[in-house]
């Protein structure tokens, strides 16, 4: 498995190095979009507006959304691209099994995605003049968020395996995620708060906002809950992708429509 991870990492690195404009384009678009929203908000509210740590919380949520979007899109986009170029069947001929290959590929790509996301974060911090905390403990809630993200990514990938072209569904998930990740939990109360906490990644995102924007300590009870959610959604994702693989083989549609 380590050999496969290394080979997939090498594949991602080759593509990144050979076609750097694709990654740079993503950094540019993601930062410009946020900066445009930031400038518009400041224009409406006037120059005396003080964001405080509320802006910091929004920055954390937005950048986390961009990272999770990369993760979410990666599996589905890869499957669509592989189906179009014809290499999807070669992946299914691997003795590792398609689910393992797809997941390891996405994980191997994570390192590059984290670098790109860090680039986006630093640029946004620079443009907005804000500052964030980077305690080492942030790794833990980040892992819980990524577990859920991979779970959702596998579910969307399962759809891509069956339907091949799912751009509209991806767009739906992407902007649904923006709501989940960029909206602070403390804006909800009562039953809505409970429902929001059960959504994927919300507790992990809230923990990251606590650590990076508000300078709070890590809440272990919340972290346990975040990991439990992460494991749940990852498990569901693996199960659904496996089912989808069986269905695609039964219907003979691995290669195309």
């Amino acid at each position: 498995m380590f050999e496969l991870f290394f080979a997939e990492f090498k594949l991602s690195w080759i593509e990144f190095r050979r076609y750097p404009l694709e990654s740079l384009g993503v950094v540019f678009i993601t930062t410009i979009f946020f900066y445009a929203l930031f400038l518009s908000t400041r224009y409406i509210a006037g120059p005396s507006l003080q964001f405080g740590d509320k802006l910091d919380a929004i920055i954390v949520g937005y950048v986390l959304w961009s990272l999770v979007s990369f993760v979410l899109n990666r599996i589905a986009f890869d499957l669509q691209k592989e189906a179009q170029t014809g290499t999807l069947e070669q992946l299914f001929l691997s003795s590792f099994g398609a689910t393992t290959v797809v997941l390891v590929r996405s994980l191997a790509n994570l390192a590059l995605q984290l670098i790109v996301t860090l680039g986006i974060l630093l640029i946004i911090i620079g443009l907005t003049g804000r500052s964030l905390n980077f305690p080492p403990a942030l790794i833990l809630p980040l892992i819980s968020v990524l577990m859920s993200a991979y779970g959702i990514s596998l579910m969307v990938g399962a759809l891509a395996l069956i339907f091949k072209r799912i751009q509209q569904i991806l767009a739906f998930f992407q902007f649904g995620l923006l709501f989940i990740l960029a909206t602070p939990i403390d804006s909800f109360t009562g039953i809505n708060l409970l429902l929001v906490k059960l959504l994927p990644m919300t507790t992990g995102a809230e923990l990251l906002r606590d650590l990076m924007a508000r300078g709070n300590n890590l809440d272990m009870a919340k972290l346990t809950f975040a990991f439990a959610c992460g494991a749940f959604y990852l498990g569901i994702g693996l199960f659904i992708f496996n089912l989808s693989e069986k269905a695609a083989k039964s219907r003979g549609i691995i290669s195309g429509y």
């Binding site: 290394f6 080979a7 090498k10 290499t87 069947e89 070669q90 001929l93 003795s95 083989k249 290669s255």
Partner: protein, 307 residues
């Protein structure tokens, strides 16, 4: 142990209210080192059959064994398999030949070191040294196909599935691929080959299986099949068309004349008599009237259609 055993494969596809019996009953065995040409018209069920054997489509009935392992239940079976599927797919166009070979080597279960070693051997064997660092999209179609075959061999498989390996290739590239296929079979690898170029199937295959409407209609050693469909007659091809007087004279010997230029003769001694009469008219060829695979294929497929 046979490299491939496929027994009683069946596959039905359901699309809206339609039921399509793509494969009704396909059974094949291929021992090591043998090349089986798997022929059939478009829509006969070749690709569906091959994909069931490769573990890409789950059969509704029947089973497949690759060196004793079921590719649908035991992923270890896939370590012994290589496949080049139809089209210019199978490899990454944004990578170089070297990168493709190393990546797919690991994907097929080799270590990084083994993949690198195998990659260098295959690059040399397939004549890709000068292009090993060029991205695949900049290679000719022939080189891309050679690379696809090389990638299928990276894990030294004992069964190779080749779906239309010479499709879209020019003459030189086709000859190169034919030589490679012969070498691969000679090294002990079993090969299942599909092609619409029946002259290639005739040249490369040890056995032929012809599928029509989801069922195998014939399966024989290639030369045995040709012998079965060939008579003991002879054929003289003239350079120019014969005049009416000559045709009438020849017909007294009981020969059959087609298009005014080709004379079919049943027995050898009549050949000498006919040549005596034809002298000194120029002729192009005197040959045994042996069927080729194209004629046999058309007879079987059209005959089955008529039935």
């Amino acid at each position: 142990m046979n490299a491939l055993e496929a027994y009683n494969l069946k596959k039905i596809f359901r699309k809206k209210n339609q039921i399509i019996e793509a494969v009704k009953e396909v059974s094949l065995t291929i021992p090591s080192g043998e090349v089986l040409a798997f022929l059939g018209p478009n829509g006969a069920g070749k690709t569906t059959s091959i994909k069931m054997m490769a573990g890409l489509i789950k059969p509704d009935y029947g089973f497949v064994r690759i060196l004793g392992n079921d590719p649908h239940k035991n992923s270890q079976a896939l370590k012994k398999l290589g496949a080049v599927l139809e089209g210019n797919r199978n490899i990454y166009w944004r990578l170089t030949p070297e990168e493709n070979l190393e990546y797919f080597g690991v994907l097929k279960g080799l270590s990084q070191r083994e993949a690198k070693k195998s990659s260098l051997e295959l690059i040399e064997r397939f004549g890709l040294q000068n292009k090993r660092r060029a991205v695949v999209q900049n290679l000719s179609r022939g080189m891309q196909q050679k690379l696809a075959i090389a990638v299928a061999l990276i894990n030294k498989p004992q069964l190779l599935l080749l779906d239309e390996p010479t499709l879209g290739l020019d003459v030189e590239a086709t000859e190169d691929v034919k030589i490679l296929i012969k070498e691969i079979a000679a090294s002990g690898c079993a090969i299942l080959l599909t092609t619409h170029q029946l002259n290639i199937a005739e040249e490369l295959s040890d056995r032929v299986a012809i599928i029509q409407k989801g069922k195998i209609v014939t399966e024989l050693h290639t030369q045995e099949l040709i012998r079965q469909f060939s008579g003991a007659s002879y054929k003289i091809e003239m350079e120019n068309s014969l005049d009416r007087e000559m045709i009438l004279k020849l017909q007294t010997f009981g020969v059959d004349i087609q298009y005014g230029k080709t004379i079919y003769i049943d027995t050898q001694d009549v050949v000498y008599q006919v040549l005596e009469i034809l002298n000194p008219l120029p002729f192009y060829k005197v040959d045994k009237d042996e069927s080729d695979l194209t004629q046999i294929f058309l007879k079987l497929v059209r005959g089955d259609d008529n039935n």
